[in-house]
Amino acid sequence: MLPADLEQALAPKLGARLVGVEPFEGMAGRVRFRREAALDLFRTVREDLGFTHLSMVGGIDWVDHREVFYVVWSDEANQYLVLSTDLPADDAHVESASGVWPSANWHERETWEMVDVTFDHHPDLRHLLVPDGYVFHPLLRSFKLHEPEELEVKSRHV
């Protein structure tokens, strides 16, 4: 499966909500999509393209926006695929993938608490690795390892 094949399979279903498919070393490609397409894309990728196994969900804080990426795997094609979407930093939310791949559950909980991205319709969005009531999001770039005092003043939660 090549990036061009992926684009051909996904473009008719997603239309303008598909931003593009790029080559990615060691994978079938990297699908960039707008968040409105999330559920349609997840279903198409799982049911039509055969990527039955979701390996991980992660978030990246690019300061001006946030990125959420999903790594999925297909046994038939013996290939990985990465799906990624850019979200505005002040309104970072995307549809949860846990209805399509139940394995997304914990990965999304972790991404939510670490990178401050909300997953809509997640069945159980609770803290996982940090204690309940913890107000910081440690994997944001604004969380500095060496200046904890400064952080407390800057945090939007305080």
Binding site: V71, V82, W101, S103, H107, L129, L145
Partner: protein, 381 residues
């Protein structure tokens, strides 16, 4: 009897590390479970953003303290892809040797802890005794028994000491009959079968739905091993079989891990022979000296020099002893990675706890969780 929630952990013989399994029970029957993680969260992904590429290796040993070299291998592949560095062939063989010895070491640690959970004491001593031989080998060429810091971006730190390969062969020759001994101790014991057969059943489709990988997936009959499916390093050059079983229960997971150790010995024999016959460099020449040198002769200042690498993202996935581990390293051109994300197989295997624990009895929880092989360090990161 009325229902209630009980805590198994964070201090409980079953947990093997710090985590808490909340269990809702009716009498002795498990109705629901809710694993509480995070007791061992050290923010390894965050600390990595503040460190030089080679300094992250130190953290990898501590991510999973029973499979440190496997995690080093995982990170190194991703970092080399992100920085576009190609290691020499001998370094790749040395890394494979590390990973396979580490698999044996990790599985022996699992074996020792697991059989003790189900009430057999002497296999624990045998398992720990034989694991020590593997640790002795690690000590002879990395200098450490647990936190090795052996691999480097672009190769490995040092070559093998003289006489190492003979010693390694002796250990492999010793191990093969020991596996038979383990089987006699466990599979020949009524206690083992009464506590393990038909417990914790997780079918192949449930495994895939919940992202379960590694020995748990192979015990359900799915022949998926990244060393075979998507060979990394030079696994395509060595000959071995993928261990599978079809019970999908605790006994099947035991059988898969035992067979994996035998296959690791088979791989190691080929790797050790290759290393004997092919001397050569263990560090890529394109790597700047300040980056690959074992003792950083340029000092701290050298690390702070502004060096530019082409931007890129490195992704790697390896068959770690617990399952499929992945690393996603984002390089933005600086001397620190911009973002590092790790996928821990134990994290995914534990997230499916509800599917393989509900319906069994409270006394079944220790053998079932033992068969999952929980390493909290890599789950919480």
């Amino acid at each position: 009897m009325s229902e209630m929630w009980i805590n198994m952990g964070p201090q409980h013989p079953m947990t093997h590390g710090l985590w808490n399994l909340r269990v809702r029970i009716d009498g002795e029957t498990v109705l629901d479970v809710d694993p509480e993680m995070g007791y061992l969260h050290r923010g390894i992904e965050k600390i990595s953003e503040d460190r030089h590429y080679n300094e992250v290796i130190t953290l990898m040993d501590r991510t999973c303290y029973v499979a440190g070299l496997a995690w080093e291998h995982l990170y190194i592949i991703a970092a080399e892809k992100a920085l576009r560095i190609q290691p020499p062939e001998r370094a790749d063989y040395l890394r494979m040797m590390c990973e396979e010895f580490q698999r044996i070491g990790s599985h022996l640690m699992w074996y020792a802890a697991f059989v003790q959970d189900i009430g057999l004491m002497s296999p624990f001593l045998y398992g720990m005794r034989d694991r020590d031989l593997v640790l002795d080998l690690f000590q002879s060429y990395t200098g450490a028994r647990m936190t090795y810091e052996y691999m480097r971006v672009g190769g490995v730190r040092n070559d093998l000491p003289p006489g190492f390969t003979d010693q390694a062969r002796k250990v492999l020759d010793w191990l093969i009959p020991r596996f038979k001994e383990y089987d006699q101790l466990c599979l020949g014991s009524d206690i083992f079968h009464k506590r393990c057969d038909h417990l914790g059943v997780l079918s192949a489709s449930d495994c895939i739905r919940h992202g379960v990988t590694g020995p748990m997936l192979r015990s359900a009959g799915v022949k998926r091993d990244l060393r075979k499916n998507r060979p990394y390093s030079l696994y395509k050059d060595v000959d071995f079989d993928v261990a599978v079983a079809d019970g999908a229960d605790v006994t099947a997971r035991y059988l898969v891990r035992m067979e994996e150790m035998r296959q690791s010995v088979r791989i190691l024999r080929q790797v050790v022979d290759w290393l004997d016959a092919h001397p050569g460099p263990v560090m890529a020449e394109t790597v700047p000296r300040w980056m690959g040198a074992p003792y950083a002769p340029v000092g701290r200042e050298g690390y702070l020099l502004k060096r530019q690498y082409p931007k890129g993202v490195g992704f790697s996935s390896i068959e770690e002893p617990h399952g499929e581990a992945q690393a996603y390293v984002v390089n933005e051109g600086g001397e620190h990675p911009y973002r590092v994300k790790f996928r821990s197989p134990v994290f995914a295997n534990l997230s499916a706890a509800r599917t393989y624990l509900v319906g069994y009895h409270v006394a079944d929880i220790p053998p079932i969780m033992g068969s999952v092989d929980v390493c909290v360090g890599e789950c919480d990161r």
